[in-house]
């Protein structure tokens, strides 16, 4: 008998694409997509149920449809999408609590996959260079998406304690980037002038959108419990990434950063939440040994390739590379000529 998978957050681009691909998987009999708003994209063979995970209707869906696998992919990163920070928190935290309560009551449930984020590690100057899955953050995220993700993971751990028969897999994805995805870091690099914190250069580790989908697929089919960092190999320095995007840097002294960030946020240009500012100041790296050795996942994009793929799609690139090269060559020829004469 095939498996019945329930996917939350299918109206978001990533959740929808994931559910559609999953429905084509021969091992999967049915995919049920759940979200509060109807999806704009075509979901293919996915059966869509319009339900709010914040109310008990979800229990009926899980038990009534005989769901054996739940993929919780609806944790929202940007407050703008949810219609404000409080609505976002409501959806993320209360929604997860309701969903997990329903999961606990479902006797047929065998597996729970949760999409989380490496933002649960926070970002501070006291961080180790690379976080492994069992390291605790040096500074617990105090607000925003990161705090939601920490709380969600807490509730998920609670469920895995109470239902030891359910395989619980948590995937912590690094900051997402990709050609079609609207991510906060993508919007940041698309700004005409990229503000950074003066005197700091963050290490960025990115995860390509295709690797997000592939890792979720693998987590559904593989049977490995635990938390896994999912990220591309290697890091880019923030200044290096901005140069590659060919954008002018605007370093802002750290005391003015929150004011400028607020300005950008209210103008809806980019999402400069405090935890994103911390990330763009101190950076973060995660160790992916467990992803390779235990989960058996091999990302198709390194951080650099993922970023380049994003740049290609957005039509960004280093500032006139041919011009720079020809200036370099011209200067060299000139100086050599002068030096030989003198």
């Amino acid at each position: 008998m095939g498996r019945v998978v329930l996917v939350t957050g299918v109206s978001q681009p990533l959740g929808g694409r994931f559910a559609r691909t999953l429905a084509n998987n021969p091992d999967v009999e049915r995919v049920i997509g759940v979200d509060v708003v109807p999806p704009r994209a075509d979901l293919g063979a996915v059966r869509f149920v319009r339900a709010d995970i914040r109310n008990p209707v979800i229990t009926k869906v899980i038990v009534g449809e005989d769901v054996d696998t739940v993929v919780h992919a609806s944790v929202i990163a940007a407050p703008a999408r949810a219609g404000g920070r409080s609505a976002m928190k409501e959806l993320n935290v209360i929604g997860t609590m309701q969903l997990l309560a329903a999961c606990q009551k479902a006797p047929g449930l065998r597996k729970l996959v949760v999409r989380s984020t490496t933002e649960v590690y926070g970002a501070s100057p006291r961080d180790p260079a690379m976080f492994t899955e069992d390291m605790a953050p040096k500074q617990l995220p105090r607000a925003g998406f990161a705090k939601d993700a920490v709380e969600v993971e807490g509730y998920v751990r609670g469920l895995s304690r109470r239902r030891p028969d359910v395989t619980v897999t948590i995937l912590r994805h690094a900051n997402l980037i990709g050609p079609t995805l609207e991510s906060s870091i993508g919007r940041y690099f698309s700004l005409p002038v990229v503000p950074t914190t003066l005197g700091y250069d963050a290490r960025l580790q990115l995860c390509h959108e295709r690797d997000v989908l592939d890792s979720l697929q693998l987590a559904v089919s593989a049977d490995v419990p635990g938390a896994f960092n999912i990220a591309g190999d290697g890091v880019l320095m923030l200044s290096q990434a901005v140069r590659r995007a060919g954008r002018p840097l605007a370093p802002i002294p750290s005391f003015a950063v929150s004011a400028v960030g607020g300005l950008f946020r209210s103008a809806r240009l980019a999402d400069f939440s405090p935890e994103q500012v911390a990330f763009l100041t101190y950076g973060r790296g995660v160790d992916t040994t467990r992803m390779r050795k235990v989960l058996g996942f091999e990302p198709s994009f390194t951080t650099e390739q993922a970023f380049d793929d994003f740049l290609r799609a957005k039509g960004l690139g280093p500032l006139a590379p041919e011009r720079v090269q020809s200036v370099e060559r011209g200067l060299r020829d000139l100086l050599v000529r002068e030096g030989d004469r003198g």
């Binding site: 100057p125 006291r126 961080d127 180790p128 260079a129 690379m130 492994t132 390291m135 914190t197 003066l198 005197g199 700091y200 250069d201 290490r203 290697g234 890091v235 880019l236 320095m237 200044s239 290096q240 990434a241 901005v242 140069r243 590659r244 750290s254 101190y282 950076g283 790296g285 650099e304 280093p318 500032l319 590379p321 041919e322 011009r323 720079v324 090269q325 020809s326 200036v327 370099e328 060559r329 011209g330 200067l331 060299r332 020829d333 000139l334 100086l335 050599v336 002068e338 030096g339 004469r341 003198g342």
Partner: protein, 372 residues
Amino acid sequence: MADAEVIPLGTRGRPGRGTGRRGTPSSAARSLAPKVPPARSGRRVDPPVVPHPRAEELADVPSFDPDALFVERPGGGQGFDVAAAIAAAAREVFGDEWERRLAELLAFGRRRLTGDYTVDEFGFDPELTSTFTMAALRPLAERWFRIDVRGLDNIPDTGGALVVANHSGTVPLDALMTGLVVHDHAQRHLRMLGADLVFRLPFVGQLARRAGATLACTEDAERMLGQGELVGVWPEGFKGIGKPFKERYTLQRFGRGGFVSAALRTRVPIVPCSIVGAEEIYPLVGNLPTLARLLGAPYIPVTPFFPWLGPLGMIPLPSKWLIEFGEPIRTDAYAVDAADEPMTVFNLTDQVRETIQQTLYSLLMQRRNVFF
């Protein structure tokens, strides 16, 4: 001054050489003597220059007309002042190979502008460090502190090793100088472990990461050592670097021995390193603890010249430096779980500390004078 005095650098582990005694110039000094001016010690081996693979790309690019950049003088035929000056300066700085070196420098600039370089997971930028940071520090080490290096053979050529050194001098110049000496003489990058204050400070933290440093914590130390890097640690920390001048050359507590457990866990040798001379660069005669607390700094130094002379007081005194790398202490003979036995860790910590302290005393006996 009639002729330039040649100060030998580095003895490749042979004791008694290059101590700067007049009348008995070391072999390094003799071989250097005819070359005037001897910019650097002949012992320093320039790393083989590998042309950047992308240098050839330039051939395909249509040439940019440089004449458009500079306005020709009305007289004509005089050449371009700026270009000529740069070319002359390049010849002066780079010597005979100036054309190649200049081309490399320009290519380096282009890669910086377009972000076309790679850093490792700790944020280490080897190209920038070798091209820029080390070049900036070199005159300070060779002309100002005239560092005399001993025991370079004790630094393994490959594989992980932990260099443990004493810390002093109010400003961590000793760490930078050790890094330079290792880079120039042992052709390896010394990956330093720094306090979290370093990474909290703007600019300093950024430069430190670029130069290969990372936070002094067990996770990072073990990760680096496990990857076969040469890691440098100054376990006295702020207690060592900020101690009063009257306590010079007395080692402080060596942290909690975390560096020993890291070496035991990764089974790499510990290379004790003794640095003489750094204590005298900024003699710390006082401290402003209230101001320090206010600013969140571990101490605010008062030296005979700082803050009295303002920026002038920030010039380090030109003391004569000796850096000696001692015989490596092997950790692979210990049991696998030795890192979890506090007594083994304490004893090994003491052994490293004693070795460095004894070497410091014997180096001080050999040094004739603080400044020569």
